[in-house]
């Protein structure tokens, strides 16, 4: 593979952009019904006197993480006149097992990553304070070989979170220890956050914002409390999730924002549940056509990625038609666009032509065809024809599954509407068998 192909392949990474990659960032709000989600979250933080606690929902791949990284950048480097805030983007996946998440692990992840980023980015070392005593108690219950003797907050928590993430036994031990003593843990955490806020104020920052990403990806399972694991964390644990003495943002599974708990969650987290919709690249059914604004924005994304690889459009695409078809197939999901480009690159030699495009399309369809059940089809059919979803008590589960798997995508212009993922749209339903009379 020559250098140029390698550079282009690497430029089209589906990993969300970091706060520093501003050269690759394209603001997509125009094609998301002017949602300006990141800006609104930031505004609430700037306007509120007491710390805020907000949630953000959205499809996987809708660009939540990129928006949050951009928010981090904007908070730390604001327009003139606005106060500067220090934002910690906490990738929860590093410290928690998404199959089994509860508040104790989130608390430890928040403190660990805040301490680490303060040290790495500003050279601020937090003193362990009451955490020292509490973590000493872990040593007695954790059977795994953790040495916290050379205790320093960052190092101690690094080892602890490693054990929690990889060992269900360690997780249980930590929860058992923390549960009856949660008040002390929260106090200890807030003491550290207070220390951090004070040190930040000396460096000209007007406050601390912690953004916990990846919680939207937690696995949906029944919980012992008689609800889903997602509901347990965001509803039953809300008092604790909102007990930190700094601004907090948590990403939340999209299904929860469309469940009967939406009202409750809205009240618990600041009055509304913002959702990052997909970028609209086609107009609403029944007369679905390419949506120029969205298409142009996605073309900009491609142009910026190519520029970063010192390449031009002709290097990647045989014709503009091929480019636009890839954009259409992405359904307005930036990560899907990246995956489709990468899939096409590895399928043959550049530039991507109709033939390679066909393969990428077939691969995508096959993936969806394997997921769809017979009861999904009437819902897909209706969304495809009208852009609407009708939820009933019988199809509720199926609708959730389709949203979760991104077979159905949420868009917003004047109002919310649903589109069938273009990769799933062309799949034909299985033939129905009729009984002979």
């Amino acid at each position: 593979m020559d250098d140029r192909v390698q550079r282009i392949y690497q430029a089209f990474s589906p990993t969300p952009l970091s706060a520093e990659q501003t050269d690759l960032y394209v603001r997509l709000d125009q094609a998301r019904g002017g949602a300006n989600v990141a800006e609104r979250l930031g505004k609430r933080i700037r306007l509120a006197a007491p710390p805020t606690c907000q949630v953000l929902a959205g499809h996987r791949g809708s660009g939540k993480s990129t928006e949050l990284a951009q928010l981090c950048h904007d908070l730390g480097d604001p327009r003139s006149g606005e106060p500067r805030l220090f934002a910690v983007l906490c990738a929860a996946d590093e410290d928690i097992d998404r199959n089994d998440v509860d508040f104790p692990e989130i608390l430890i992840a928040i403190i660990k990553q805040t301490a680490k980023q303060l040290k790495d980015r500003l050279g601020i070392s937090l003193k362990p304070g009451y955490f020292k005593d509490l973590i000493e108690r872990f040593k007695k219950v954790l059977t795994s070989d953790i040495s916290l003797d050379e205790f320093e907050l960052g190092k101690g928590l690094l080892k602890l979170s490693g054990a929690i993430r990889s060992s269900p036994d360690a997780r249980m031990a930590v929860r058992k220890l923390l549960e009856p003593d949660a008040g002390n843990w929260i106090y200890a955490a807030n003491d550290l956050l207070g220390q951090a806020t004070l040190e930040l104020s000396k460096k000209g920052y007007a406050g601390l914002v912690v953004i916990v990403d990846d919680l939207d990806k937690m696995v949906l399972r029944p919980h012992d409390a008689g609800c889903s694991t997602q509901e347990y964390l965001f509803v039953h644990r809300a008092a604790q999730l909102s007990s930190f003495a700094c601004h907090m943002i948590y990403t939340m599974p999209l299904e929860l924002a469309y469940s009967h708990q939406e009202q409750t969650i809205a009240k618990l987290y600041g009055g509304r549940v913002p959702v990052v919709p997909m970028t609209q690249v086609a107009t609403r059914p029944p007369k679905s056509r390419p949506y120029k604004t969205g298409m142009k924005l996605f073309q900009q994304i491609i142009a910026k990625r190519l520029a970063s690889a010192a390449a031009v459009e002709q290097d990647l695409f045989d014709t503009p038609k091929v480019r636009d078809e890839l954009i259409r197939l992405s359904g307005g999901q930036p990560t899907e666009l990246m995956s489709l480009v990468r899939e096409s690159i590895v399928s043959g030699s550049l530039p991507i032509n109709e033939q390679l495009l066909k393969r990428a399309r077939q691969e995508g369809r096959r993936a969806y065809a394997r997921q769809l059940r017979i009861d999904h089809w009437p819902i897909l059919k209706k969304a495809k024809a009208s852009g609407q979803l009708t939820r009933t008590k019988d199809n509720d589960q199926a609708v959730r599954e389709l949203l979760e798997s991104r077979a159905i995508l949420l868009y917003v212009n004047d109002q919310e509407w649903y589109g069938v993922n273009p990769l799933a749209a062309d799949i034909k339903p299985p033939p129905t068998t009729r009984r002979k009379r």
Binding site: P51, P180, D191, L198, S201, L208, E231, C246, T264
Partner: protein, 471 residues
């Protein structure tokens, strides 16, 4: 922006709830004698019960029917249980226990939907379903026809349903950790907090204010454990002034309560009562049941110190009742322990023992060792009053062992002091002196001069050692 919108959230919320309660009263009056269907959304069963108690002043006869868990035929269950023909209104509670949040097939709601017509034939009065938020939403989805029949929806609180007690922590958590520090550690901590407060300045940025309040409260707490009550009072008053300036009612209630504790420690009981009543009034206004229960408990302690044991008991029972409704076991355990102490003062030692053992059992279940240790200490005092010195010693030793395990020096010192009293009662003066001396030195080590003085007074009552004969 309307006047209500310009108020801080904490002020707005109770005002809105008062308005909702007035609307509910008006509805009950207007709908008297005829059927109407309403839904009252309230996430906390304890607050719901409290609100229901607020109503009878205008509506004298409300029948409350609880739907048993896992009911399918809701109408059948309510119809069978409702037996007050003179009722002016019917309140249906507990339906949420038949409406599991995770289930896709909501049998109870489906049957409710089908029973829509039956309600108005059976009940010629307003019927109000009290539901938590999630169940009200499920009602709209799974019982749409029934829902369309409703005349009103009242919303009382945004608090969530059924948070287990251990999870319902205040924003700041708690400061138990501070009481476990040794005297040296306390000195370091005090210096650290004073340094932080000095750096934050007298006019800190808005983001630092919540932290400034936490630091002030912990600092005052640390001074109070050292017996420096004047300084603690000054700091609490400073925190109160900040809370007042910010209009944060919950914070003000908390500072009044803290000031009440300081007056109580000084023995200025009238002042203490004034402060706790101020705190209680705010908690009532905010509808914060947990805060109310705490203040009833504090008032109970003051009445006990005054010797007004009946009032003391009334207050502790009020506190226990609320904690019970909230499912807050730790609060219940403290209440039982306090009741035990009241019975002990009355000389009803059997009842005292029952209550203290109840408290221990709950603390044990919760794994709250500090609570267990304190109650073992109280049991020891009770056995001492009975004259059963062996049992008294056994209990104080249990208490000592737990405090030692926790490293809580103040508890260890108290246990030594109590053991000294037991030896003194046995006339084993050498052992009494040895234990009191240990207690005194520990109190000195953790910086509690007032306790050092008190134990020293006990040591001073001992006769001087007899002079040994010269050889």
């Amino acid at each position: 922006m309307s006047q209500a919108e310009s108020l801080p959230n904490e002020t707005r919320e109770p005002q809105r709830q008062v308005v909702e309660l007035q609307s509910l009263r008006r509805m009950l009056d207007a709908s008297r004698g005829s059927f109407s269907l309403s839904v009252a959304v309230c996430n906390s069963p304890a607050l719901r019960d409290h609100l229901m108690q607020e109503l009878p002043s205008s509506v004298s006869r409300i029948e409350v029917v609880a739907v048993p868990p896992d009911t399918v035929d809701v109408f059948g269950a309510v119809n069978a249980a409702a037996d007050d023909a003179e009722r002016l209104a019917l309140f249906v509670v507990g339906l949420e226990q038949s409406v599991p949040s995770a289930a896709t097939q909501q049998a109870a709601l489906r049957s409710l939907n089908a029973s829509r017509e039956l309600w108005q034939h059976s009940f010629a009065c307003p019927v109000v379903f009290w539901l938590p938020d999630y169940a009200a939403t499920l009602l709209t989805i799974h019982a749409p026809d029934f829902w369309r029949y409703r005349s009103h929806r009242f919303e009382f609180v945004s608090e969530q349903a059924g948070i287990p007690s251990a999870m319902a922590d205040r924003f700041a958590g708690n400061i138990d950790a501070a009481s476990g520090l040794s005297a040296d550690e306390k000195e370091f901590r005090i210096a650290e907090l004073e340094q932080r407060l000095a750096e934050a300045g007298t006019n800190p940025t808005p983001n630092l204010v919540p932290h400034q309040l936490l630091w002030l409260n912990e600092l005052a707490f640390l001074y109070s454990t050292r017996g420096d009550l004047d300084r603690a009072e000054a700091i609490y008053r400073n925190a109160l002034a900040i809370e007042e300036k910010l209009g944060r009612l919950e914070g003000m209630a908390s500072e009044y309560g803290n000031l009440g504790n300081i007056y109580q420690m000084r023995g200025e009981l009238d002042q203490a009562e004034t402060m706790h009543r101020k705190s209680l009034a705010i908690e009532e206004k905010l509808g914060r049941l947990e805060g109310m229960a705490g203040e009833y408990g504090n008032l109970g302690l003051i009445y006990r110190m005054r010797g007004d044991l009946d009032q003391a008991e009334t207050m502790q029972r009020k506190a226990i009742a609320i904690f019970e409704k909230l499912g807050q076991l730790a609060g219940m355990a403290s209440g039982y322990g306090n009741l035990g102490n009241i019975y002990q003062m009355r000389g009803d030692l059997d009842q005292a023992e029952t209550m203290q053992r109840k408290a221990i059992a709950i603390f044990e279940k919760l794994g709250q060792l500090a609570g267990m240790a304190s109650e073992y200490g109280n049991l020891g005092l009770m056995y001492e009053t009975r004259g059963d010195l062996d049992q008294a010693e056994a209990m104080h030793r249990k208490s000592l062992a737990i405090f030692e395990k926790l490293g809580q020096l103040e508890g260890i010192a108290s246990a030594y002091c109590n053991l000294g009293n037991v030896y003194y009662a046995r006339a084993d003066l050498d052992q009494a002196e040895a234990h009191w001396t240990k207690a005194r030195d520990l109190f000195a080590q953790i910086g509690m001069p007032h306790m050092v003085a008190e134990v020293q007074r006990s040591i001073d009552t001992l006769p001087p050692p007899e002079p040994t004969e010269q050889a």
